[in-house]
Amino acid sequence: MKPPLATVTISDFNGLVSNRGRFPETPSDALTQTNIRCLHKGGLSARKGLESVSFSTAVSYTDDLISIYFYDYSASTQYIVSEDANGIVDAETLA
């Protein structure tokens, strides 16, 4: 088989370059790049899914969390959150 007359090679993924319209400046520009990232040169990696953080005790909130603050205390990581609608400020310890 004869080699192709021309080949575009994309190995150095250039990330999302959406400001140029249909035609990229370099072949490895992406017009859309959602939930897939360039985490190292020469590769694309899908975004990892999300898992719930583990707490030292069972915790559940009823409203959206709008503030998070983490701090170290007594060799553990604690956090303070505030909830949206009910204004509750809560402090817990990560497992």
Binding site: P4, L5, A6, T7, V8, T9, I10, F13, N14, G15, L16, V17, N19, R22, F23, P24, D29, A30, L31, T32, Q33, T34, N35, I36, R37, C38, L39, H40, G42, G43, L44, A46, R47, K48, G49, L50, E51, S52, T62, D63, D64, L65, I66, S67, I68, Y69, F70, Y71, T77, Y79, I80, S82, E83, D84, N86, G87, V89, D90, A91, L94
Partner: protein, 553 residues
């Protein structure tokens, strides 16, 4: 452990920790709170001073003579005091034996921090005859006690705890314990002081003002501890401490504040950037570089040097981000993956459900989409010894799946579309082929319906990881639909009538390819450009290493 309930929930609180370990919370509308990290509830930050004066009179026959002024103040069980009472009580003694104090002012029910149950006390301070520079602790009673006596002579007073009314250079001393003002929604710790900014007051004079506490006294914020910046038609929305500087963030300007220890004496403030910040949560720091988001987009600042960051994704900034709804926007660092994420709303009527994501080592952008989840807050926490980005997804705290643990119940949809390439003229030697190299992924078991934004069922099935590659000709928004159902034996299958070439990632060679030369398509001669879109759903680490497209340029 529920610590407190703010009455106003429209503004995210900001939190700062003092050197002593206490944690302070401000939201600009409710009275600021402090927490010691141990007890089951927060308490007010700062102690409100007595509003009435004690009654004082001499009695008996003795050696006490002179003119005095007596002040009272409250003190909590940690020794943190309030200001003196407002004007003091005048007292004249003439050969009296003792001073009788009565009607000692008491804290209100709204000041539980100095209640009797919490160990609160009331102090009475008296000067010596002939001077109004220094006051001395004359008596201390428990909260609830309204009378006291003292037989101290001036010499005995001078041996007691002393407190100047003003410092030697004229600043408040006995009256320096003013609690932090409620109106400031931003608090940061910088150079042993707490700094406050971002007023919710509607008084235009206040929007250029920041306040700061006394050194190592985070709850002492006398009115003289303030700085007012020049009026520039803008308002202060945040504070950013980096190294020796405190950057004062306005919507469209940044000022750099420097001080060598006493801001009242030596603070210098200079304008360093005509960029700004949307709110206190819209900046983060990577090493000595700050990443910020203002109404003109994302940028970096190092020292006083500012550089736009978002040129490759300007269309998002100008066309897609809803700039009317930025109160809940935030910027976060994911040190584990070397990313800075700008959480914004695309469209309107919802919370931040997308993050423009920037890899700060590779200078690469991408977009994260969280489907129907609102990501209204984020923070960085050490988890299993690694600093991880934690995102508030509605009412839950979440982190990225660690590939080493078995949390494979959240499928993430991804899309990657390249631009259009010009096709070479049709020629028998000019093969048009799409090739892709990837890390093979073995088939795995997953719960039915598993998506990170929805509950999955308890039944599982075997999932073979694929990528669907769609082909778009001549700038069309409609992908080509293959005419045949076939397996090309190079890891790619098609289904007649369904758009896309399906790449099987379980292929252990880590390679697949397919021809797109339209050999079966009589319109091929008319094709000028071609574009490719890769998409799929995955819950496994999915890595693509190389794509080659033959026959285009």
């Amino acid at each position: 452990m529920s610590l407190h309930t703010f009455s106003d929930t429209s503004i995210p609180m900001t939190v700062a920790r003092a050197q002593t370990g206490e944690i302070y919370m401000h939201n600009g509308n409710d009275r600021p709170q402090r927490w010691d990290g141990i007890t089951a509830a927060t308490e007010h930050s700062g102690i409100t001073a007595p509003t009435t004066e004690v009654t004082a009179a001499g009695s008996g026959s003795g050696s006490l003579s002179g003119s005095y002024t007596v002040y009272t103040r409250f003190i909590d069980d940690d020794g943190i005091p309030s200001n003196f009472s407002p004007s003091g009580t005048s007292l004249t003694l003439a050969s009296d034996a003792q001073v009788d104090y009565s009607s000692i002012p008491q804290p209100t029910a709204g000041e539980p921090r100095v209640s009797l149950a919490n160990g609160g006390q009331i102090q009475l301070w008296r000067n010596t005859d002939g001077q109004e520079i220094t006051w001395y602790l004359d008596a201390t009673v428990d909260t609830g006690t309204t009378v006291a006596t003292s037989t101290k002579t001036d010499a005995q007073l001078q041996a007691s705890t002393a407190l100047r009314f003003y410092t030697a250079d004229g600043y408040p001393n006995a009256m320096r314990f003013t609690p932090p003002a409620t109106e400031y929604k931003v608090i940061v710790n910088h150079m042993d002081r707490m700094w406050f900014a971002g007023t919710t007051s509607t008084d235009a004079d206040d929007r250029n003002t920041i306040m700061f506490s006394e050194a190592n006294e985070p709850e002492s914020v006398p009115s003289v501890n303030s700085l007012t910046l020049q009026e520039d038609g803008d308002e202060i929305v945040g504070l950013m401490p980096i190294g020796p500087y405190l950057y004062i963030l306005k919507r469209r300007h940044i000022y750099q504040l420097a001080t060598s220890g006493d801001p009242r004496r030596d603070a210098s403030v200079v304008l360093v950037a005509d960029r700004g910040c949307l709110n206190q949560r819209c900046w983060t720091r990577v090493e000595s570089t700050a990443f910020l988001l203002d109404e003109n987009g994302a940028y970096v600042m190092k020292g006083s040097e500012v550089q736009a960051l978002d040129t490759p994704v300007r269309n998002f900034v100008t066309d897609q981000i809803d700039w009317d709804d930025h109160a809940l926007y935030h910027v976060a660092k994911d040190a584990d993956q070397e990313l800075v994420q700008f959480f914004v709303t695309l469209g309107s009527g919802q919370g931040p459900r997308h993050a423009l994501t920037y890899h700060y080592r590779l200078n690469r952008w991408s977009l994260d989409s969280f489907a129907s989840f609102d990501a209204k807050a984020s923070g960085e926490a050490e988890i299993s010894g690694v600093m991880r980005l934690v995102i508030a997804h509605n009412s839950q705290l979440k982190i990225a799946n660690d590939a080493t643990v078995s949390h494979y119940d959240s499928m993430v949809p991804f899309t990657y579309k390249l631009g259009e390439y010009r096709l070479l003229p049709t020629h028998r030697d000019n093969v048009r082929r799409f090739s892709i190299w990837f890390d093979p992924i073995s088939s795995f078991s997953i719960y039915a319906g598993a998506q990170e934004d929805s509950s999955s069922s308890s039944s599982s099935f075997t999932h073979t990881q694929t990528i669907r590659v769609k082909v778009y000709w001549n700038g069309s928004s409609t992908a080509e639909t293959p005419l045949l159902t076939q397996d090309n034996e190079k890891g790619v299958t098609t289904t007649a009538g369904t758009a896309g070439y399906v790449v099987d990632l379980s292929n252990t060679e880590g390679f697949a390819s397919f021809r797109f030369d339209g050999g079966l398509d009589t319109d091929a001669l008319n094709y000028k450009t071609v574009a490719f879109e890769l998409s799929g759903n995955t819950s496994r680490p999915l890595n693509i290493h190389r794509i080659e497209i033959d026959g285009v340029q």
